[in-house]
């Protein structure tokens, strides 16, 4: 009988938790002392950052697989283009689909990447790869790029979280093997902002402090006895939450404070509101804000769906870029538009839809040191294959990491001691920077 078998059955502690505890125990790492804003999970080795052209990131994620042909890479004249037309933009070299008239006017700020490539053709795997640069495995959970940014570069604000995810749910952008401090703060409804951030009714500040002290006293023995990083991380998360409750910058989460005309301009869609909230959070010093919007899985009625999906994106993204620029924020804020894959040029006859197409799709980068008004990479005449300057998912993420000055070669180890890098084996597309 193996020892593992012997242990089997009575167990409240998962193997992963067990190994995490084991690693911290063997390495002698206790509850980490945390510099304000810079949190280190397992090791306290300072991470040497490189020069950065961007300090903050707004990452717009189109869940479901955004059709490149009907958005950023239309193919005039191709039989597979379907009814979606195209328009010129203010950038000579860039056309977009007819559904993006507002973005077309902001294209001087944008580098369209038309040569993205993923190895993953299913949603969960594709989303995972896009966020982590790694393939999904049964044995490890990789951190998302936002968690890496928080881990390596830290936060910019003493009380606001470094990493916020709007509309994505708690598990959308994973902390991976980083500890619980690196879970992004999830915001469900951008209009409602941050929920449950106030003390319960009838609990005044003194009472609340007394209660927290009592909790801390009760936990002290356990903490001292265990001394494991995960225990410390949990307590740190509590502290972070309490600091956030008392933060003078909670107003950052309230988009109703914005002028009505601006709220109208961003649009009433979840995406529009999410982008407006993202801009407020960036202005208040959140490092990484992801805004997630779904519905792009257009297996059926692709063209009718575009009439509903594209206008809110066009509006939200175009106004976001203009708004950031007017405020002097675009030069240091990188705006990213990403999705898990594109959609097939072949139109399914019965359903008028497009299927998954990971071998060639589009995204964009704007601001944060990116040269605007141009495209990078190209697909063939039907948008089927990349024919120029392929950008695998890891390279796209390496480009974002490079803009933030995150060291691409720096390895951080999982609980089991396996080394991982911020963008896996990706190499940045340096030519995109001004």
């Amino acid at each position: 009988m193996t020892l593992a078998r012997l242990l089997h059955g009575a167990d409240p502690l998962s193997r992963r938790d067990f190994l995490a505890g084991l690693a911290s125990g063997l390495l002698g790492v206790g509850a980490a002392s945390i510099l304000p804003g810079r949190a280190h999970a397992f090791d306290e080795v300072p991470i040497a950052l490189g020069p950065a052209t961007a300090r903050q990131v707004i990452y717009l994620y189109m869940g479901g697989g955004m059709s490149h042909l009907d958005t950023l890479d239309p193919k005039p004249g191709a039989a597979t283009q379907g009814p979606t037309g195209w328009i010129r933009t203010v950038a000579d070299d860039v056309i977009v689909s007819e559904h993006f008239p507002l973005l077309a006017a902001q294209m001087d700020k944008v580098a369209v990447v038309r040569s993205l490539q993923s190895t993953q053709g299913a949603h969960a795997q594709g989303t995972y790869a896009m966020h982590t640069s790694y393939e999904m495995r049964g044995t490890i959970r990789h951190p998302s790029l936002g968690a890496w940014a928080q881990r390596m570069a830290g936060g910019l604000h003493p009380t606001l979280p470094a990493h916020v995810c709007i509309g994505g749910g708690a598990n959308h952008a994973s902390r991976g093997f980083f500890d619980s401090r690196f879970v992004p703060l999830p915001i469900g409804d951008p209009e409602a902002g941050l929920q449950h951030a106030a003390r319960a009714e009838g609990v005044d500040s003194d009472t609340f402090t007394r209660r927290l002290d009592r909790v801390a006293a009760m936990n002290a023995a356990f903490r001292a006895e265990q001394g494991h990083a995960s225990v410390g991380a949990y307590a740190d998360m509590y502290e972070q939450a309490v600091r956030l409750m008392d933060s003078s910058d909670l107003a950052a989460f309230d988009i109703t404070a914005e002028p009505e005309s601006l709220r109208e301009a961003y649009g009433r869609s979840t995406l529009g509101r999410g982008c407006l909230l993202a801009r407020r959070l960036i202005e208040h010093g959140v490092r990484w804000v992801e805004v997630v919007s779904g519905g792009w899985d257009t297996h059926s009625d692709n063209f009718e769906s575009m009439l509903e999906l594209c206008p809110p994106l066009d509006r939200a993204l175009a106004v976001l870029l203009a708004d950031l620029e007017a405020r002097g924020r675009l030069d240091e804020t990188l705006v990213v538009l990403a999705t898990e894959f594109g959609r097939s040029p072949q139109i399914t006859e019965a359903r008028q839809g497009r299927n998954h197409h990971p071998q060639a799709f589009s995204g964009l980068l704007a601001g944060g040191g990116i040269v605007g008004g141009r495209r990078w990479g190209a697909t063939d005449a039907t948008g089927t294959e990349v024919i120029e300057d392929a950008v695998p998912v890891a390279d796209f993420n390496a480009t974002i990491a490079h803009a933030l000055g995150l060291p691409l070669e720096h390895e951080l180890c999982s609980e089991s001691g396996r080394p991982f890098q911020v963008a896996h084996d990706g190499r940045p597309v340096r030519a995109l920077f001004r």
Partner: protein, 354 residues
Amino acid sequence: MHTTSSSPRAPRARAPAARLPAAILALVTLALLTLATATPAGDVDHATAVQPILDRHCVKCHQPVGDRAPKAGLDLSAAEGLLAGGEGGPVVEPGAPDRSRLIALVSLPDGDLDRMPPKGDRLGDDELATIRAWIAEGCVIGEGAPTDIDTDIDIDTEVRAPRADTPPDPARIQLWRSLGGTRTPVTQVARAAAGDTVVIEPVIPGSPLLRVGWPTEQARVDDDAVRALARIAENITVLDLGRTSITDRSLDTIMRFPLLVRLDLNRTAVTSTGLRRLQTMPELRTLVLHGTAVDDDAVPTLRTLKRLEQLHLWNTAVTEAGETALLKDRPRLRVHRTLVLPGPEPEADEDDDL
């Protein structure tokens, strides 16, 4: 990255460990470390026992065919797909069959719309027991199990040649390097005097040039806080005073920052009169004035800033005529005076608002 066969797989310990007193835990630790270097063999083998069951009942729908993704994004034709799960997340939880969705779905009664498989025979009791046992043992995949979850795309099998073009550093970083030059890094800065919320950091790692800002409680930052920065005047290159309580008096201090490249004064009380102090600042390239009372009287001052590239005048009193005067003979200057917003959305109902 992805390989089609013989990818090295990290050995998996199989069963979870129990909470035990520390002494035993230490022993267990050593034992598990030893275990982790061996290849554990479960009693139930994935390739010979589990996969055939999935092949019989599941893979007709749950495998990719050509361009078509498997149902629910769940590929049960290989071990990797089974472990990875589908659109709804993982379907097996190693060590916990009762928490595994795969077990839950195939165990639903006939007639339940979610029962798997939706058509055809349900899994036999012995088949179900086999899968349960495999999950309970920790979902071990033995040697020789298929590892390929891709169908037709494998762009990483080619060795990627290094990119030939490695362009020089971005212009802004070159600027930091050249401006930093021979200047001595500041080791101690007047942090306390500038307020406990001030953040002072190098513009790029190791640079003597500094970025200074107050990320929170900007209202508490006043002219005294700015005056305290005079001690590091030679090093301040980026200064963010947005939303602070400073007045024109701070500009008396700021005018003595010879390397100032980026100055953000948004939503402060500075005026066109105060801005005169900034005349001919040699390195200023970005000036953010949105939400201030600055008007056309500032135009002559702003025209003396020869290196100015980005000027943010949205929500100020500067007029179109002022903008035109600013831009005369200044091809490199970009003035952002207006924020042109699209009209309201058409009245179409939006599903996501419901």
